[in-house]
Amino acid sequence: MTLDYSALGLRVGFEIHQELGTRKLFCDCPSILREEEAPLKIKRRLRPTQSELGEVDRAALVEAIRGKGFRYQVYPENVCLVELDCEPPHPVNQEALDTALEISLLLGASPVDEVHVMRKTVIDGSNTSGFQRTMLVATGGKLDTTKGPVTIQTICLEEDAARKVGEDADFIDYRLDRLGIPLVEIATGPDFTDPKTPAEAALKVGQLIRATGRAKRGIGTIRQDINVSIRDGARQEIKGVQELSLIPAVIEREVKRQLALLRIKGELRGRGAAHVEGKIVNVGKVFSKTKCKVISNILAKRGTVLAVKLPKFAGLVGKELQPGRRFGTELADYAKAYGKVGGIFHTDELPGYGISAEEVSKMRNMLSATADDAIAIVAAEKGNAEKALDAVIARANQALLGVPEETRRALPDGNTEFMRPLPGAARMYVETDIPPIVVDEKKLERIRKMLPELPEHKVKRYIDEYKLNKELAERMSLSENSELFEELVEKHIVDPTLIATTLEETLVSLKREGAMVENIQRSALDEIFDLIRMGEVAKEAISDILREVAKGFSVPDVVQRLSLRKITEAELAKMVSDVIQENWILVEKRGRGAMQPLMGILMEKVRGRVDGKLVHQLLERELQKFEFRTETS
């Protein structure tokens, strides 16, 4: 990267949200996600609340404007009256709170003396009660990174939200299975100053959480939000970075975006651009014979085509902010968010999309727009079109000031898109249905005693006790399978290195091949290692057996079908002498030199059923005998 991040004043902080595998935080429902059709759907509405000053919180206002109802999908086995906001919350799940305290101690943070559960207003429908229950558990921790220590500002415990599974014109569909699952939220200070260290730190935090043994596993159980700002830019909260490996790209692209926006601001200033008045004009008649399908369809449905002049913006709307995203894309995001329209057109990309140069020219006339000015156009139902252009005007005016503070959504390629304005001060008040929870020294002592082994210690132990090499020990200690590994080693008198490579390498390469390794049960592994110990199957066969087990076959079936039962030495000896006989011309010609090709043939035949070393041994012995025989004949 050629950017000088410290000169730019880059500051990055992140928040990790990790789901716990305990029961739900405020009730006794199992924390399970369901994929099949829900037997019950319940429709609800939420009313936006107002702050004391009569202002509606910025973010809440956006949600309210969208005005849809909510359809909640219910699975009676793991969604109860608490999730439906039909019953007060039960006391906080002790196991979850203990886990949060464990994590706090592992991060060197100070737990609060008394935990107060708060209600944080959320009215996008993802919480049935209109708020998320959250509590501050600890403050003031520290995380060591290669670039120095980073502060852990807060550790909170909160309930996860319902998951959005669909949306139509009138309703948003949410599934309540995830609502209530405990989330531990760990927030760093804005102490990172480069794009790579945050990813390293996030990995480390994730490992610490997994060390407690109570982290939920699976896709989506850990989510990262990143806060990024540069000196002259503004803080962005980027939500939903699913993969750690994407973090550096997201940060780099966000810095690029902010720099590009600052360049646009500078350019606008240079051109003498002023506050956009935003007079919206109906340009429908320009398009009475247009070839643009989008517009003609809207007009046919009695919609309108509205346009607004963005003075001095020509050429800037089409400027790229991130690969594949232009300033015009930002304007379109705002139009979509506030006006519920499909998108906008703008003169930096016209003529195009069926809109002709002549139509553009007519619009310029109607709006008194010169070649220095850009025009934004929306085709939609009148009310929506107006809201959309109002949002475009507002965003254009913000471009004159620089970078607006926003909550943005991370996209799979590392770009980000606008979600909503950064929320104002947290909309929180006390959850009066739950009394405060005292965290006293006795409780902390108990938790200190059960602190899990730190990853560094585990590596050392694997090297010392199980004789794994350093690289394998490091991989195994960080692996999801480390617990399984230790159990298998305890149970089976088999070389731990074999078990470790099976879990960490064999399974991984099978997965890469496309095998459904999720189908491999623990019992299958037990059976395989039993067979290895008894000498009935060679270690070389493991990969083949697992490949078949992944397809759904049982271990004994596979061993039999593929004749993977280990060959006895006697059988092997016969095989070797048969091969020598079949290839005696070669043997005669090459003598000892026939070793290699014959090994090739033999290993083909016995592949996976016997130790290669033994084959070599026997072949050598037979060849010697043969030589001896020929020499003596």
Partner: protein, 420 residues
């Protein structure tokens, strides 16, 4: 606050009755509350004084609209609307009409609201005296020209108050609607708004001249039910659709401000006058019968000077035989004993089994299909009217305000089903 190297700054929070004396609570800038134990190494210092929070919601000025009906809302203590001050986390109840309009702007499209407070209690602290106070306020409002009256009430004993008003208010010619909310009104998901708007719609626009309860009809937010005040009961501790009409259909459904009737009801009239028949004898006991119950209970009730007993018997209206002698003693001392059923649904019939017949012979009054709570309120209201036990029996068995029906439909029983 400084303790063990950690410094926290925030707004000092008032100590609630939930917490203990050893902790101080501050609200941080982030919005979170944090509790710190006051040990010897904790240091507290005041760094600033903030703006005192405004009490209440910003009022919205409104002009009465002559085309809209005038509805009076009486407050008894339940909070039908409120707002939150996020800075301090305090929840403020909406009280005046202006505050209600502020919290529920849709009200302006329904009616001209006038509010007054009758009392301010949790509904578990309601009493016959307060029932009377409420009834007098209702009569005053209706006689003063209100198109309808809404009473905001806690849900715990709303059924009892509804029954009491049904008996007390004579000559009702306008709607009298009780309303409450199960989920506190500060939360965005509260059932309060739909309930209040539906109640005001019924009070302002319907032709129902009865005392009724209006609350959510399902766990969704799409409609409310209008329940007759003498046939309604709170059936679930926390669900929105907790109120059910027992042994009958609700009077109607209200959806999107429009009413759909489900059965017969007294219709409104252009004019009239409401009077209040306001005497109650509070010394009535409601006793739930159970296996092993001791006669001592009834005897000690008598010794304490009680004037009437409602029994919540088992099944069709039964008690253990062991209770016969003390029941006889009660009736002989002119303390009427009325039988209802703890099954809640269904009709009492004491002719079927010998136990029932024996109780009838002792002089127990069979309560037909009255709810135990309603029979309780009715007896309290009847006792001051007569000391003649035969007269009392006759009145108890007369349908005064819909509390007794002569036939029960087959589609009015609540049971588990795979739906909402």
């Amino acid at each position: 606050m400084e303790k063990l190297g950690q410094v926290h700054e925030g707004i000092l929070m008032p100590r609630t009755e939930l917490g203990d004396q050893n902790h101080l609570v501050i609200k941080l800038d982030s919005g979170y509350n944090l509790g710190i134990r006051l040990t010897r190494d904790a240091k507290v210092s005041k760094v600033a004084v903030g703006r005192a929070p405004r009490m209440g919601l910003p009022p919205i000025a409104f002009k009465p609209d002559p085309s809209k009906p005038n509805v009076s809302i009486l407050g008894t203590g339940g909070t039908i609307a409120s707002r939150v001050d996020y800075r301090t986390g305090a929840v403020y109840p909406a009280f005046t009409a202006e505050e209600l309009y502020s919290a529920a702007p849709e009200l302006a499209g329904l009616a001209n609201i006038k509010t007054s407070a009758v009392c301010s209690v949790f509904s578990e602290n309601m009493s016959p005296q307060l029932w009377v106070k409420i009834a007098r306020a209702v009569a005053r409002e209706i006689n003063g020209g209100a198109r309808g009256v809404v009473i905001a009430h806690g849900t715990d004993t709303m059924g009892y108050t509804a029954a009491a008003l049904s008996f007390m208010l004579k000559g009702i010619f306008r709607p009298v609607v009780l309303v409450g909310s199960q989920r506190s009104s500060d939360r965005p998901s509260s059932d309060a708004a739909l309930n209040l708007l539906s109640a005001v719609a019924v009070a302002g626009k319907s032709d129902i001249a009865e005392v009724c309860v209006v609350m959510h009809g399902s766990t969704e937010d799409d409609f409310c039910l209008i329940h007759r005040g003498t046939k309604v009961r709170k059936c679930h501790t926390s669900r929105r659709d907790t109120f059910q009409t027992i042994n009958d259909l609700p009077i109607g459904v209200v959806r999107d401000g429009e009413m759909i009737p489900l059965g017969d009801y007294n219709k409104t009239k252009e004019s009239g006058e409401v009077t209040v028949d306001a005497k109650f004898e509070p010394r009535v006991a409601l006793v739930k019968i159970s296996p092993g119950i001791q006669p001592k209970i009834i005897d000690s009730i008598l010794r304490s000077g009680y004037k009437g007993i409602i029994l919540e018997g088992t099944g069709l209206g039964h008690t253990p035989e062991a209770l016969f002698p003390c029941i006889k003693r009660a009736i002989k001392s002119d303390v009427p004993v009325v039988m209802t059923s703890q099954c809640i649904w269904g009709r009492v019939n004491m002719n079927v089994y010998s136990t029932g017949r024996d109780l009838l012979k002792l002089g127990v009054i069979p309560g037909e299909d009255m709810l135990p709570e309603v029979a309780y309120v009715k007896l309290m209201w009847l006792l001051p009217k007569t000391s003649d036990m035969d007269e009392l029996r006759k009145l108890m068995l007369t349908n005064i305000a819909g509390e007794i029906t002569s036939r029960t439909r087959s589609d009015v029983f609540l049971k588990t089903f795979l739906g909402i």
